[in-house]
């Protein structure tokens, strides 16, 4: 019995430490994420500054996460002081966007086995490169490289992927991260800044 309790105790301690480690991970991610609202020329500086401050905070990861959240809450104001016009996205839109990101993330997890199977299949049948990519404009003003499966259009697999839009599966990742926004009906991604209702920019085809 005591042997069991030691094992269970160790397992719980390990789980707790993993969980606290997640706080630190989340804190660093938050800082990188909120830095995107800052002007590009000083973004790197603030990320480095905040990351260093983060490390200087003693105690559990919860305090560091709290610091990161507070910094994020003020990031828009910081951006304003640094001279960029902060985009005011209405709260409801943010809610819709957050819900969308979570949904896409879950969809991605659900479809991960299919993605892996297709990767292996295409690599086996057609060889490398398995993916082709194009660079599109991201919602935050930067660029993002979108990957899609690279099967010949004339082949059966290629036609199947094209007709079902499954070739765009790898694009779910940047979508789940909120960097791009899809068209209404399809999985196919638009480069357009639909979110901010700006005119579309044509794809830079990098096939």
């Amino acid at each position: 019995m005591s042997w069991l309790s030691i094992v269970v105790g160790a397992a719980i301690a390990q789980a707790v430490s993993e969980f606290v480690g997640l706080f630190d991970l989340a804190a660093r991610w938050l800082i990188r994420r909120c830095s995107r609202s800052l002007p590009e020329e000083c973004r790197g500086r603030y990320v480095e500054e905040w990351a260093a401050e983060l490390q200087a905070i003693p105690g559990s990861g919860l305090w560091r996460l709290l610091f990161a959240i507070r910094v994020c809450l003020g990031a828009r104001a910081t951006a304003r002081e640094l001279g960029t016009v902060a985009l005011r996205v209405p709260f409801r839109s943010q809610l819709v966007r957050a819900g969308f990101m979570i949904a896409v993330f879950l969809l991605g997890v659900f479809l991960a086995p299919l993605t892996i199977t297709l990767t292996v299949l295409i690599a086996a049948i057609y060889g490398r490169p398995v993916f082709r990519s194009r660079v599109v404009q991201a919602l935050d003003g930067g660029t993002v490289r979108l990957y899609s499966f690279n099967a010949p259009q004339s082949s059966r697999v290629g036609r199947f992927l094209d007709s079902t839009d499954l070739d765009a599966l790898p694009s779910l990742l940047p979508m789940a991260r909120g960097r791009i926004w899809p068209t209404v009906a399809q999985l196919r991604i638009v480069a357009a800044d639909v979110w901010h209702r700006r005119p579309t920019r044509p794809f830079d085809d990098a096939d």
């Binding site: 480095e48 401050e53 507070r70 990031a75």
Partner: protein, 93 residues
């Protein structure tokens, strides 16, 4: 600014300023950015070798000469205001 004036020459990190001023880190960085843009503060990377120190370099802020003068004036002005507000109560006592 009072946090800076305690020792005008000492450089401070953003985190220390936020503790000294009793403000959340979310509000301190926009303020620091504004003061820096106004020329009251200057900031520079800490002069350490990250691999030797075993931690990343931090950025510190320091009052400029202009910032120090301006901060003293503002502090004096607010003390004067406080004095004027308290004087009637002082006289009545």
């Amino acid at each position: 600014m009072a946090a800076f004036l305690e020792d005008p020459c000492a450089p401070r990190f953003g985190l220390e300023v936020s503790r000294g001023a009793g403000l959340a880190s979310g509000t301190i960085y926009p303020i620091l950015a504004r003061l820096e843009a106004a020329g009251w503060l200057e900031s520079a990377w800490e002069d350490i070798d990250p691999s030797n120190a075993g931690r990343p370099r931090r950025r510190h802020y320091r009052l400029t000469a202009e910032g120090e003068t301006a901060a003293r004036q503002h502090l004096q002005a607010s003390l004067d205001r406080l004095g004027r507000m308290l004087r009637p109560a002082w006289n009545a006592a």
